[in-house]
């Protein structure tokens, strides 16, 4: 997630998060995708395909600030997953970002969640232990399996954002959330703030909307209700960057313009925050003026 999205989601007066996202610019992002045990040929194929697509998307663009690893099929064993996580634990630093995406089936027995893998499964607690060893203070876990809501408690930790495909461990049917999550990574429409970065919050919103629409359109009772505990934190995880999103303004002559742009952005955020307190006409008048000013400033920066 780039800076502008952070601003658009957070009212003015929350500089901590802005600083946090600025900090990510120098950090390495470790991204691990695991396609678990399908059980049936159809699921096996589907999970592997989703993992392949994710791997391809994350590696595209040749970003040097990220390490992408994918485990699928017979390689997606508990031992190999633990080995991968241990290696990252030895390499990552506190300022780094760690993202884990789990695709497949999960189970929940009322107390413990398990992610189904070839051979022994890995439990939520075991996963938490492995993740706790990774020094990266900002972690994102996207558990897209059935019953994934059952993992939330085990993974709870400061600095860690957890997204699950289901509301609780009791939603046990195979999920479709993963399909739309991966779609979000490749569909520019998921980039709702048009900053050329798809953040975890945007991908979640995209996949959540599409999942709900899937059940509505198919006239089926929804058996999964995706969950995200902290929208603002999720907005700070950049999953996919494209275009010139990563380019940084270095021209000292434009520093004033950049400062002006940030000032307008902050005013827009503040105005949105106060929208409900104003008449619609007055809000429209003020936001229109600010947006026009922002567009003019951007044009000067881009010259």
């Amino acid at each position: 997630m780039g800076r502008s999205l952070t601003r658009s989601l957070i009212p003015a007066g929350l500089p901590a998060l802005v600083a946090l996202s600025a900090c990510t610019l120098q950090a390495t992002t470790y991204m691990v995708t695991v396609a678990g045990l399908g059980g049936e040929a159809d699921y096996e194929q589907r999970f592997a395909l989703l993992a392949n697509d994710t791997d391809k998307i994350l590696k595209s663009g040749g970003a040097t600030d990220r390490v992408v690893e994918t485990l699928k099929g017979p390689d997606a064993t508990k031992a190999k997953l633990n080995a991968t996580l241990s290696r990252i634990a030895s390499q990552a630093k506190a300022q780094d970002v760690f993202i884990l995406m789990l695709i497949g089936h999960g189970t929940f027995d009322g107390a413990e969640y398990k992610f189904n893998l070839p051979g022994p499964d890995i439990s939520g607690t075991e996963l938490a232990i492995a993740l706790n060893r990774i020094p990266a203070t900002r972690q994102l876990v996207v558990d897209m399996t059935s019953a994934s809501g059952g993992v939330t408690t085990a993974l709870k930790k400061d600095g860690r954002t957890v997204i699950t495909a289901t509301k609780s461990g009791m939603e046990k049917n195979a999920t479709v959330f993963a399909r739309f999550w991966v779609e979000a990574l490749r569909d520019p429409a998921a980039d709702t703030d048009k900053n050329e970065v798809v953040s975890a919050a945007e991908a979640f919103h995209y996949a959540q909307t599409k999942t709900a629409a899937f059940y509505t359109e198919q006239k089926r009772i929804a058996t999964e209700h995706p969950q995200l505990e902290d929208q603002q934190k999720a907005a700070s995880f950049a999953l996919v960057r494209y275009g010139s999103a990563a380019s940084v303004i270095t021209d000292p002559a434009k520093r004033d313009l950049v400062a002006k742009k940030e000032d307008i952005e902050n005013k827009i955020d503040a105005l949105k925050f106060e929208k409900d307190l104003m008449s619609p006409e007055e809000y429209r008048r003020q936001i229109s003026a600010l947006l026009l000013e922002l567009a003019k400033t951007q044009e000067l920066i881009d010259k």
């Binding site: 703030d193 048009k194 995209y206 044009e299």
Partner: protein
């Protein structure tokens, strides 16, 4: 309820049971029932049935109780069947079962009623029921004969009297029988029922009012009055009548309960009016659907005004229900299929495209079908046989737009093969009292094909001539003789011969074709299958049954084979055949449009995507693609329509949708609107550069001005 309450007719039986010794609890049940304490009556009946599982009388009485409770027809049928299993000579059980079947418009009702009268020749109610069923089939001689038998047994049999009165009234004649109904509301209720099932709702309402005037506590008449007022758009009075019925005897009647629930949901709807249209849409989808529905309503009005040479004197009202159950409430108690749409006078109720899984039904085809009914019912003053108005409506689905409508299905092929089509003079029976599961669908098909045949052989205006003669309350046989100058039997022969020419080869080879399609699909799933083999087999199957465009159809397998050979021209050719034969799978048509666009045929590509708007106008991806194509072809107004629909559907990418709409407005020269939409895009995504550029351009600001 459409018949006298069973307990009234059976009071002597109850008394004799009382004398038999096990009376106390049955008496309790009857007493509770009479005092409208249905919960406790039900408990006592259940206890009786549990304690005496072999007692036939208890089963029959409990069956009558559940039958009268409206919502428990399945329970009633089960009890009557169990009673018959225990005592195959129990006439009351057969009569009870006949009544249940009649409520469901089942073809088995007459058989059961006949059995009842055979077992008890004095059971005049069974003859009354037979008369009712015959009249529902529009078999008047049979209805009169049965009513007369009932009157011979009981000269004061009110429903037999009502049948006679109904026949006269349906023929627009004064009837001496009406006076004989006297102050018995059930008689007028029967007359009203027949007006309603003959789609003469205003007359039906008048007779329900008479029924209530004669018997103010006839709650079933209050309920039906409410239902029919609602059908005619008189919602306030409808609510009053339904609530009255609900608060008295009719709380358990699904039609009453669900109609009230539906009226309660009307606050979630928004109504759009023009001089000749009224469109009621659910607020959630109103903005997205309105342009497409309104445009089609206006098109249909213009089309039918010209074709039928008739101008409506009131606007057409179309109600679109996103919840299929809400729509289904509108058709409860009516014969026929009514699965997608239904017409009451100038009011059309139909499923919304969101009421079914995407792509499952062609809403525009349904709307044209129903609006044909509006014109034909008004033109004939509601005096038209069911087969003709349905047949004409089916004919209209494809008459103007050949790729709309439904195609011949395997069920219909089976019916043709098994020679189950009905003679034209008896075709109404196939709609009202079907004798096999698919007969209603088969009857729609047959009626439609008959109208196609008449239009082809005698010319389209002949259909209008027939409609005009039907308006004089002339039966089908006479109309066929007068208009087509042939006997109905000769017409049937010629029609079947023509149908055979069209479908004979499909019917004859259907089993072989089915086997071939299975083999083709199996082959297509094999990774090493050769494209040329697939193509040869697919094309042979296409020729064998060109109308088959459903799951596993040969056209789309052929498309894949063509693309496997990188032969886009071949794929386009296969897609064209699929589309022409009404293929409308969204993914397939989108792929077809993409190929057309890539081949430089942008306008045909847009035309293909536009076909999908008549199937699923709630498809965001469709509007985005189609809008983009219209931008490319310079059709700015259409691009605006598409992107406005997209914006109304609240897509995930709100900024993108507003930006595209801004571009379309800009091309159209509507700078102010373009500016507003650019601002909307930027409000969602302030740093969206293309929208910023457009805003500066349309505002006359920035360096590009």
């Amino acid at each position: 309820m459409k018949l006298p309450k069973p307990w009234q007719a059976l009071a002597p039986v109850v008394l004799s049971l009382t004398a038999a010794g096990y009376s106390q609890t049955l008496q309790q049940a009857e007493s509770l029932w009479r005092s409208h304490d249905y919960i406790n009556a039900s408990s006592v009946f259940d206890a009786l049935l549990k304690a005496h599982p072999e007692n036939v009388t208890y089963k029959v009485r409990a069956g009558e109780f559940y039958y009268a409770r409206h919502d428990y027809m399945a329970d009633a049928a089960k009890l009557f069947q169990e009673a018959i299993a225990l005592d195959a000579k129990n006439a009351q059980a057969y009569l009870g079962l006949a009544r249940v079947y009649e409520e469901e418009f089942s073809g088995k009702a007459t058989e059961m009623a006949s059995k009842a009268i055979e077992l008890d020749p004095k059971l005049y109610e069974a003859e009354e029921l037979k008369a009712r069923i015959a009249l529902e089939d529009d078999d008047r001689p049979k209805a009169i004969a049965a009513a007369d038998v009932a009157l011979k047994i009981n000269p004061d049999a009110v429903n037999a009297i009502a049948i006679h009165a109904t026949i006269d009234l349906l023929d627009d004649k004064e009837s001496p029988w009406v006076a004989k109904v006297g102050n018995r509301g059930v008689g007028y209720e029967t007359i009203a029922h027949f007006f309603v099932i003959n789609r003469r709702y205003e007359d039906g309402i008048a007779y329900y009012r008479k029924a209530i005037a004669a018997t103010p506590d006839l709650w079933s008449a209050h309920s039906q009055l409410g239902v029919n007022l609602m059908r005619m758009g008189f919602d306030q009075e409808a609510y009053k009548e339904l609530e009255l019925a609900f608060n008295n005897d009719h709380g358990s009647d699904a039609s009453t309960r669900n109609s009230l629930k539906l009226l309660d949901t009307f606050k979630d709807y928004v109504t759009f009016k023009t001089p000749n249209t009224i469109l009621r849409l659910d607020k959630k989808e109103a903005d997205a659907l309105r342009p497409y529905f309104e445009q089609q309503m206006k098109f249909n009005i213009a089309l039918f005004e010209k074709k039928y040479q008739y101008k409506l004197n009131a606007p057409v009202q179309v109600e679109v229900y996103p919840n299929h159950e809400d729509f289904a409430v509108r058709t409860m108690g009516l014969p026929g299929l009514g699965a997608l749409g239904v017409t009451f006078d100038t009011v059309v109720a139909m499923d919304s495209p969101s009421g079914r899984p995407p792509g499952e039904f062609h809403w525009a085809s349904t709307l044209r079908h129903e609006m044909s009914h509006v014109f034909i019912l008004k033109l004939t003053n509601d005096r038209v046989p069911r087969w003709f108005t349905e047949g004409l409506a089916v004919h209209e689905e494809t008459a103007t737009t050949p790729d709309w409508g439904d195609r011949i299905t395997p069920q219909i092929i089976a019916a043709i093969r098994d020679k189950k089509l009905l003679p034209v003079a008896q075709l109404d029976r196939g709609f009202v009292h079907p004798e096999f599961a698919a007969q209603v669908i088969v009857s729609y098909f047959e009626a439609g094909k008959i109208c196609d045949y008449i239009a082809e052989r005698w010319g389209e205006p002949k259909l209008l001539d027939m409609a005009k003669q039907f308006s004089k309350n002339v039966p089908t046989s006479t109309v066929i003789r007068d208009q087509l100058k042939m006997e109905p039997e000769a017409f049937d022969k010629d029609f079947l011969s023509s149908l055979d020419k069209e479908t004979g080869h499909i019917v004859k080879n259907f089993e072989e074709w089915t086997k071939g399609l299975g083999e083709l699909n199996k082959l297509a799933r094999q990774p090493d299958s050769k494209p040329d083999d697939l193509l040869t087999k697919a094309r042979a199957l296409e020729a064998g049954y060109p109308d088959y465009v459903e799951t596993g159809n040969p056209y789309l397998i052929a498309v894949k084979a063509c693309l496997a050979k990188s032969d886009k021209a071949c794929a386009l050719d296969e897609f064209a055949k699929y589309s022409k034969n009404s293929g409308r799978d969204a993914d397939a048509i989108k792929q077809y449009a993409k190929l057309l666009d890539e081949a430089g045929m942008t306008k045909p590509a847009a035309a293909q995507l536009d076909r999908l708007n008549f199937v699923n106008p709630l498809d965001q991806d469709l509007h985005e693609r189609l809008g983009a194509l219209y931008l490319k072809t310079g059709d700015a107004p259409l691009a605006v329509r598409e992107f406005e629909a997209l914006v109304a559907l609240r897509p995930v990418d709100a900024a993108g949708a507003h930006y595209n709409l801004a571009k379309a407005f800009n091309i159209q020269g509507q700078k102010d609107k373009a500016r507003e939409e650019a601002l909307n895009a930027l409000e969602a995504a302030p740093n969206f550069k293309p929208a910023q550029k457009l805003l500066l351009e349309v505002s006359g600001e920035g360096t590009s001005k």
